[in-house]
Point group: C2
Chain length 426, copies 2
């Protein structure tokens, strides 16, 4: 079937506005490891997809999915052990205070539940998020989607604070002094919630500020911000949907980058390598207080198939040393990107953690005006040359590099040399 026919069917069945990547979309038919293949057999190096975290169609994960689907797939109101084995293994990987788990089908559902828990437990409604973020697609979670609304939140009960931006900071201080200036904005938001009678429930951040463009967060910022949140009786919710499961290389979880454990950590995308599996871990007292009063049940959440898949993903991360690979290959990529920065004036900044990196493209290194159109051209040109990645940031001018974790230095070399070549032509 031709791409035009597919596009026409898509418009008819899903609507013209259904989101699609690239000026000329790719028609993907197969995935394996770090590669995707289109209908013509063309190979693409996947530098975008974090959902197939341990590689597209990983045989160990597929086998676990198949085996458990053949045996039993039923809800958690009967006893079965797989959900307990997985909850035990997952909480053991987290900070020891996060000892209980809920399972859901998507990161949106996990963030929904975390917000419900925080508001129920604190009795306050106010939630602080960043001013360039996105955490999911439900009504309550969409109130935090400042990235798509010029920094504005969707409700009075959600306030956005500027994220700790390192490339265009709010003042010319740095380090602890800059951290203090950003943390002061959190304090102010909390105070406003209290004055307005909304009350305060907590702060929800991606701990590496992925959608914001992976800023280099001043060392002391998270500790200061979270201390203010807790003093005010609020909870810190870390959204690990993008930053979790060894993505940052140095750590299993994004919150470990700043060494501040949250009260609730939500997870999603990479958790099931593409199988709809998500959830949260939280302090036991929070879960028990919530469970005591609120009937929460998730039909598919925690079923034996989800949990068998989740365990298989953890198996592969461990057996294939993917956290170490994320760290080493991530460093290798950043080193290569910094070399490209010496050659290409358009590169304003290189940032990232492990195999999650951002390359900020600017029109001018002094004004730091985002090279938005050029970034789009780079993304489309890379696709033509067989490399899939995307862009982020409020100016849409940051190349987002977030491949499956089994990404090798050879894969990195191809990415870097192709990027070098494309940037030469921009």
């Amino acid at each position: 079937m031709s791409e035009e026919t597919i596009l026409e069917r898509r418009k008819r069945l899903l609507g013209a506005g259904a989101p699609l990547f690239y000026d000329e979309p790719v028609h993907i038919v197969r995935g394996e490891g770090v590669y995707l293949y289109d209908a013509d057999g063309k190979e693409y190096l996947d530098v975008y997809n974090n959902v197939p975290n341990v590689g597209h169609c990983h045989p160990h994960v597929v086998e676990a999915l198949h085996r458990q689907s053949t045996l039993l797939n039923v809800h958690t109101r009967y006893l079965h052990e797989t959900v307990l084995d997985y909850a035990e293994r997952l909480t053991a990987l987290h900070d020891e205070t996060l000892s209980m788990a809920f399972f859901t089908c998507s990161g949106t559902e996990a963030n929904e539940l975390a917000l419900r828990m925080a508001r129920f437990i604190t009795g306050g409604q106010g939630i602080i998020c960043s001013n360039a973020t996105y955490h999911g697609n439900s009504e309550a979670v969409d109130e935090l989607a400042t990235l798509f609304h010029d920094g504005r939140t969707g409700s009075k009960r959600v306030k956005a604070v500027p994220y700790p931006e390192s490339y265009r900071p709010i003042s010319d201080t740095e380090g602890a002094a800059l951290a203090d200036e950003y943390a002061e904005l959190v304090r102010k938001a909390i105070e406003e919630f209290k004055e307005e009678g909304i009350g305060f429930a907590g702060l929800l951040f991606c701990p590496i500020f992925a959608n914001e463009g992976l800023p280099k967060v001043p060392d002391t910022y998270m500790a200061k911000a979270v201390a203010l949140v807790r003093e005010a009786g609020g909870l810190y919710i870390a959204d690990e949907v993008q930053s979790g499961f060894a993505r940052t290389g140095e750590h299993m979880w994004g919150y470990q980058v700043s060494a501040v454990a949250p009260d609730i950590a939500t997870m999603g995308k990479p958790m099931g390598n593409g199988h709809p599996l998500a959830g949260l871990v939280a302090r036991a007292d929070l879960v028990n207080d919530f469970r005591k009063e609120v009937m929460y049940f998730n039909t598919f959440g925690g079923n034996p198939v989800q949990c068998a898949v989740g365990m298989a993903v953890l198996d592969v991360i461990e057996k294939e040393n993917l956290q170490e690979n994320s760290k080493l290959v991530g460093e290798y990529i950043r080193k290569g990107l910094r070399k490209l920065k010496d050659k290409h004036e358009i590169i304003g900044d290189v940032r990232g953690h492990g195999l999650f990196n951002g390359l900020e493209l600017v029109k001018d290194r002094t004004t730091k005006e985002g090279a938005t159109a050029e970034t789009s051209r780079v993304v489309n040109e890379l696709k033509e040359r067989g490399i899939l990645l995307s862009k982020i940031g409020i100016q849409d001018n940051i190349l987002k590099m977030r491949p499956p974790l089994p990404f090798s230095t050879e894969n990195a070399d191809l990415l870097l040399s192709t990027l070098d070549d494309v940037l030469r032509g921009i």
Copy 2:
């Protein structure tokens, strides 16, 4: 592992309040067709689970899941055809006005999206639901959970109207006159929304009022209620999460029982036979208007694995004539239940559609006081005798019978004779 150890681990890892069936929970390890098996090898006839709609671990569905998981599992922002094939097949099964689809991971997400669409499109906030319902676990959808809050909604923007109760109707009229009385309450709720400045967005019902206890709805009620909704500029959202996919026997969709097509139909539970697959179909103009303005993306929604599984479920429904089976065996069960009613004074009413039936147990046929404690004893005693079912209704006094669709007349005989025996001992 002993059941006590499992319960202790569950309490420690999921919390004491995690919902569980039965006074002494069952430990299930395997499922096949209409049977579940516990750790001791005991066989249970499954008269509860509608999620494994075409039978537990159906080999055709498992094979499709396995095949597609081996090939490709990626989001819908690349082109792939499986999502289009499935959307085409699914919309073709619906009323011709419902020609576009969205895919999500759960019925909750589908209802969330339907509410967002209705509110966005109408500009109103007001939603009407029934006074004994449940549609999902997110904050916005939970506002409709009147079943757990004595008929009260969770917000001023949601009003509950009494569902068209047939066993304890609001007046001693019947037929069209009774339908008019119930519809008048819908008209009144719409008026109140307008007077209160909340505006009106629409009405969301399970078209067979499953959680309400499967009342015999007066023939003209739905047409009247929906006409009022549309006159006031609102949308009719049918929640097909329980009533869809041939459950009612006579029809593929619950809304066909009253022959009133909705503007949006949401689907979930049985759609993927246990795989997290859900979504909605809607009028094309609604989808296009919403898509034009609102960025909605669902990471796992519509991925090729979901859609391959969804198609396999439709294959089985067709090839195994499960809609016809649902109709015939459902009628057979209701006939048997009516015979039991002649024998057992505790049976107040027999109701249902296809393979979704309710048996209302009462202390007294004149006062119709619910036999709540007795119903619980029946459910637990049936479990001891190898039959799994549950209860519904605001008094928790209605036995809920909703087995996988390949339920045979032999299975029905076992259900009926065991129930007869248990009721004799109550």
